[in-house]
Assembly symmetry: C2
Homo-oligomer: 195 residues x 2
């Protein structure tokens, strides 16, 4: 296969990119922005080699355990569970929380074949059962899938005798953390309830 | 900068990709399709190293002069000028044309700073003045920019004493070759007129 076709093909791994836009991207990279294209190839290769998951919180990191998990300033008795690293960022921006995190890297999504096994729920259970964590705060989105994930996790964690809470539904029903103003997210945190 | 941020940043060289979708792409590549991501990094690097422009027709190729330009089956007296390699493909699919091509790799677009110099019109003039080419067929799109490109090229080429034609406006006004049915493109070819 000619390299141009291989490239167009390879670009289709990107979510939301069909054949036409993959071709447009390939032309653009080779014709209009070779420098940017080189940076992309290089950064992607380095990220694949060096980005891994924090052994404690599961977020993306380049080290074994991330800085946040090692910080003596965070309260290790609180563990907040979010779907994605971008949700963690939103939480951090509210400055309403000083505990630790666990990042699921997804949500239950049976139609896409993503279940408790794929999300590694066992690792979360283990992390939450370290004897230091006193409360697990479920901060998945208030979408159908986020709610289902919270319900499932709540049952699993309570079954191990852990105290579980859910951030308050100050976040609009059907809404996502990323698209909610910080004040609302902060308030939802304060008003978390037993789960 | 953390590699994850660098990657999100690097993905923004892709046309039509804003900060949110770049982040979504970065997560997807690192979390859901590392194999595809590896293939993309590798293919992009190889394409940047090996894909160049054909010395005769200017299309993307991995060799000095492409197979089509070297083919003894093509009529070297006819030179068809198109905007992009995808337009050349459309022309070929009609099977209405057996001459050679010149691919501009763009169109005049003053607002984007793309003029005759950026498109290398001098190289086309040189190519068309080889003494073998008898007719230059302008097959740029019938958009405003494609028409302006055809007008400009028509004047330049006629000034060198070359015979110039334009494919017929069977292609809908304002339309692009890529989105036109093959029969219409074939007809437009047959009905080309002096320019
Ligand atoms: Zn961590
Ligand atoms: Zn060629």
């Amino acid at each position: 296969m000619p390299l141009l076709e291989s490239l167009t093909d390879a670009l289709r791994v990107l979510p939301g990119v069909g054949p036409k836009s993959a071709q447009r991207m390939a032309y653009h990279l080779l014709q209009r922005d070779r420098q940017g294209a080189g940076r992309l190839a290089d950064t992607l290769a380095r990220a694949l080699a060096d980005v891994r998951h924090c052994a404690r919180c599961n977020t993306f990191t380049e080290v074994e355990v991330c800085d946040r998990c090692l910080s003596p300033l965070r309260d290790p008795a609180l563990l907040c569970v979010v779907e994605m690293p971008s949700d963690l960022m939103v939480m951090e921006s509210t400055q309403a929380y000083r505990g630790l995190y666990y990042v699921l890297m997804g949500k239950l999504s049976p139609l896409d074949g993503i279940g408790p096994r794929e999300l590694g729920f066992e690792r979360l259970i283990e992390r939450a059962s370290d004897g230091v964590v006193q409360e697990v705060i479920l901060a998945t989105n208030f979408t159908n899938e986020g709610e289902a994930t919270a319900h499932y996790l709540g049952e699993m964690l309570r079954a191990r005798g852990l105290r579980v809470s859910r951030i308050a539904r100050g976040v609009p029903v059907g809404g996502e953390l990323e698209h909610t103003d910080l004040g609302t997210v902060a308030q939802a945190f304060v008003e978390r309830r037993g789960w």
